[in-house]
């Protein structure tokens, strides 16, 4: 323990809140709005402690009017502010999608670059705790298909803070999606990877750069968010059998770091994409296609994918666990891929 004394450990949620706080101190244009972001500190802790520090003018609880306040974020950004608006669960996007994809994301383009919309939308994603079909989705595939939004999906406390600061400083709308299971919340199943070293000073992690969370030579596992943790667990198990999996954490879905994906697969010659989002018409297909476009001749086996089957997310634990990608299934898929032809 003595040697580790200088390490400063934070949960992901505290890292997010710290990133926001530091930017709010630096830049008076930054403010937060959302449901329960004040006294409550955000249902998933992303704004914990901020109300006490910055007061209700800068940490604003809102009515349940997502179209209203997320749209207001666009207007405020057009008039010089840098709002952070929280959409409590990504699953609720349907009540305000027009504001997000038809306005926030397109105005810069429609204006020919004459106006800018620097907004961060923070939102919780993911399942695994039996919250049912309307509170467990990840849905980054839905947003990534539509132009004009950057999409950030951190997996670790370090990345979470750096990507938050980068998102706030970015002059574009950024959808910042944190998985409930990586936040390190006291009331969720404990996840040791949800706590990690985080420098105190402000820093950025570049949006659009994937990160090799574990190097390996036998296959590349491309994934994001909580599935990075599952993949790392799987990689440990695979290593014991002599299979060295490289785990590539995309960290952002848009821009998608195709170069890093292709570069890794050219080395490992095998690709497994792991995704908690719905299987079809989403991230897995896009990553595989990017590899087909960039590394077809390097492939020793057809790329494989593991994702949520195309079903709404069921409530009952055995059903939900059946549809979610797990360490065991990643291990099995990786084995097949390496053993196979």
């Amino acid at each position: 323990m003595a040697v580790e004394m200088k390490r400063r450990l934070l949960t992901t949620s505290k890292a997010v809140a710290e990133g926001i706080a530091q930017e709010m101190e630096r830049d008076p244009a930054v403010f937060v709005m959302g449901e329960d972001v004040g006294v409550y500190g955000g249902i998933f802790g992303a704004t914990e402690g901020l109300l006490a520090r910055f007061g209700p003018e800068r940490i604003m609880d809102t009515p349940i009017s997502e179209t209203g306040f997320i749209g207001a974020a666009t207007g405020a950004a057009l008039s010089g502010m840098r709002p952070i608006a929280e959409l409590m669960f990504i699953d609720f996007f349907g009540v305000c999608m027009d504001q997000i994809y038809n306005h926030m994301a397109k105005i810069h383009y429609e204006s020919g670059g004459n106006v800018r919309v620097p907004v961060v939308i923070t939102t919780a994603i993911g399942g695994g705790y039996s919250d049912g079909a309307q509170h467990s989705q990840t849905l980054y595939g839905t947003f990534a298909h539509l132009p004009g939004l950057k999409i950030v999906v951190p997996s670790t406390p370090y990345d979470a803070k750096g990507l938050m600061i980068a998102a706030i400083r970015d002059d574009n709308p950024v959808l910042y999606m944190f998985h409930k299971g990586v936040m390190g919340l006291g009331w969720m199943t404990p996840n040791p990877r949800a706590t990690g070293e985080v420098p105190e000073e402000p820093y950025t992690v570049p949006i659009g750069k994937a990160d090799i969370k574990r190097p390996g030579r036998d296959l590349t596992v491309v994934t994001v968010s909580l599935m990075v943790h599952r993949a790392l667990d799987a990689a440990e198990e695979l290593a014991a059998e002599g299979i060295e999996a490289e785990v590539l954490d995309l960290r952002s879905i848009v821009p998608l770091d195709r170069e890093a994906i292709v570069e890794s697969v050219r080395r490992t010659r095998r690709l497994l994409v792991v995704d908690e989002d719905y299987r079809s018409f989403g991230m897995t297909g896009e990553v595989i296609t990017s590899v087909v476009e960039g590394a077809f001749d390097y492939l020793d086996a057809p790329p494989a994918r593991l994702a949520l089957p195309d079903v709404p997310i069921p409530y009952a634990r055995p059903l939900e666990q059946y549809v979610l990608p797990s360490r065991e299934r990643i291990v099995a898929a990786a084995r097949d891929l390496v053993a196979g032809r």
Binding site: P63, I64, G94, V95, S130, P314, R317, L319
Partner: protein, 327 residues
């Protein structure tokens, strides 16, 4: 006027609901200690209980038939029970069991019951358009069934509220809109969310009657709902009813409620509508002390049986997750 029988039925409903909610509150904590883990125990996931809001459910639903459609929210148990949902299949769904209404696929925010035309949704205000649609179907089919849409005061600031009331009013549909104003949307108090004091005044924006029940009183709810239901059945269009009610528990179980003072919590406990109502019935001689005890005992037995049914029921097979995407 409310008959003695109706008064007793409402009491019975309120007691059943209260026992269901309080029992579930305990069951929910099983497996979640010492460290609270939302995913653990026999009943995982979010759990929104409605203790304190029984007067709304009991007062409105006593006017309804099983063919009247009811849409509820993320906090649906009281309404489901008052509208006659089978408590065993409901509990089984909350446990995620194969004997549940949705074979474990829905969970506590997604109770769908064709036998009582009941549905609910975890998305705020988004059950309201569904109610409009039920009533539209009834009108087209020449039925005098109606639709009742329950929603919280927080929901009244969502666009779906506005669109639903306008459509129902415009088309003269038989919908009763019931706003359960428990003063809170999670941690956000109504005065930080709603520009006016009473949502019932918003009825003016649609040219329909708006009724305010200021005191969480089942009899007042019953009377207002009676008029609204009669109006709806007679084809005279929708009504908006607002009831000032109380959420005695946290928004969901596990909510630390740091946003409510101890004082507020104590006031709430003291004005518990069920206790007050029961005392009133006893004082009026409508109910005896023993009669009341018997109601509680019967309710407890019913709830225990339902929970036991849920516990003993099997989980669905994992592969069943792949079924029922399409009919």
């Amino acid at each position: 006027m409310v008959t003695e029988q109706a008064q007793l039925e409402m009491h019975h409903q309120m007691v059943r609901i209260r026992r269901f909610e309080e029992t579930l509150q305990q069951v929910y904590m099983e497996g979640k200690s010492p460290a609270f883990d939302i995913a653990a125990g026999p009943v995982p996931g979010e759990m929104h209980l409605a203790a304190g809001q029984e007067p709304v459910a009991a007062g409105v639903c006593l006017h309804l038939r099983p063919t009247d459609a009811v849409t509820a929210t993320h906090r649906p148990h009281h309404i489901a029970l008052a509208h006659g949902m089978d408590m065993q299949r409901m509990a089984a769904e909350i446990f995620g069991k194969d004997t549940g209404l949705g074979h474990g696929k829905g969970g506590h925010m997604h109770l769908f019951d064709p036998a009582t035309s009941f549905g609910c949704s975890g998305i705020i205000a988004e059950g309201m358009p569904t109610a409009v649609g039920h009533a539209l179907a009834f009108k087209k089919q020449g039925r005098d069934d109606i639709a009742v849409s329950f929603f919280g005061e927080g929901a009244a600031n969502q666009g779906a509220f506005h669109e639903s009331l306008n459509l129902a009013a415009l088309w003269g549909l038989g919908v009763v809109f019931v706003c359960e104003d428990n003063a809170w949307a999670i941690s956000v108090p109504k005065e930080k969310a709603t520009a006016i004091a009473n949502n019932s005044e918003r009825a003016a924006a649609y040219g329909i009657p708006g009724v305010l029940i200021p005191d969480n009183d089942p009899i007042a709810v019953y009377e207002a709902a009676g008029q609204a239901v009669a109006r709806a059945r007679a084809g005279r269009g929708p009504t908006l009813i607002e009831v000032k009610t109380d959420r005695l528990l946290g928004h969901f179980e596990g909510d630390p409620q740091l946003y409510r003072t101890k004082d507020e919590m104590e006031t709430l406990a003291q004005r518990d509508a069920l206790k007050l109502y029961e005392r009133r019935l006893v004082a009026a001689g409508v109910l005896t002390e023993e009669g009341a005890l018997a109601v509680w005992a019967a309710a407890q037995a019913e709830v225990d049986a339902a929970i036991e049914f849920a516990r003993q029921s099997p989980y669905p097979e994992p592969e069943a997750a792949l079924l029922h995407v399409f009919a």
